[in-house]
């Protein structure tokens, strides 16, 4: 996997966790969980973001604003964001060298 994509996946997982703490925080705290490290977590998120190339980062932000998730898994040769077909040649030839975008919706593609 492209190192930049690896960082984007980690960034999205962190954003997911931060959003969950904001949206389901009360429910989770009701179950006994505590979120004292939230500020620290936001700081690590921002530190991670500085390692991502500005072009990728702004694309990530734009897609997150538009779709909720910027990076989506490719399953059975389909973009799971818009269900467009992703040619299998796409994967093997360029996956390692490039951060791939779905040609139909622009989402960043991840092969799990």
């Amino acid at each position: 996997m492209h190192p930049q994509l690896q960082l984007l996946v980690a960034l999205q997982d962190l954003d997911e966790m931060i959003n969950e703490t904001a949206n389901q925080g009360t429910e989770l705290e009701g179950l006994g969980f505590k979120h004292g490290g939230l500020d620290e977590l936001k700081k690590s998120r921002d530190d991670l973001a500085t390692k991502i190339e500005p072009g990728h980062l702004s694309w990530y932000k734009r897609l997150t604003g538009k779709f909720g998730h910027a990076v989506v898994p490719v399953v059975s040769n389909l973009c799971t964001g818009c269900f467009a077909n992703i040619p299998s040649s796409f994967v093997s030839k360029t996956n390692e060298n490039k951060v791939q975008k779905c040609e139909s919706c622009g989402r960043l593609l991840y092969w799990p």
């Binding site: 996946v9 997911e16 966790m17 179950l31 969980f33 998730h69």
Partner: protein, 153 residues
């Protein structure tokens, strides 16, 4: 949510009756290794990273002797629950300072829109409040015995 419904997300392959690790990172790594074995999951590092961040947010050792490491990651396609036990106990930064002996690890994909995993988490936490049940779970001989104890009223 019914406990039998929750247990559909785990299996005998996702049951580690004797963890060998005694520290948090080691125990998480052992559980992630168990989670991915025999599956198509190719990014254990992403799962580890997510779980480590989650523990930095606050320890998930919230039950008496029990922890519930959890979170969502792109690395998995469906909700999977890993169950693990440690007779010796793991230092999991619990609030009461006691060691953790029982683990329910819930890993969900980001697309889990119905918050199925939070509902499963709530059902598990509610179920293990019973001290006698916790003793039976620690004593269960195998996965089947463990599940039967979980489902008993």
């Amino acid at each position: 949510m019914d406990i039998a419904e929750v247990l559909k997300h785990t299996s005998s392959e996702h049951f580690l009756p004797n963890l060998t690790a005694t520290d948090k990172q080691g125990a998480l790594a052992e559980m992630v290794e168990g989670l991915i074995s025999g599956t198509q999951i190719s990014r254990p590092d992403a799962i580890m990273q997510m779980l480590t961040s989650r523990e930095a947010l606050g320890s998930t050792a919230v039950g008496p002797g029990i922890a519930f490491p959890h979170g969502r990651t792109l690395a998995v396609q469906r909700l999977t629950i890993m169950i693990a036990r440690s007779t010796e106990g793991v230092d999991f930064d619990s609030e009461d300072g006691n060691k953790t002996h029982l683990f329910f690890m819930l890993i969900a994909p980001p697309q889990d829109s119905g918050h199925q995993y939070i509902k499963s988490l709530a059902a598990l936490i509610d179920r293990v409040q019973d001290g006698d049940l916790r003793d039976s779970l620690m004593a269960a001989e195998d996965y089947e015995g463990f599940c039967n104890a979980m489902k008993e009223n």
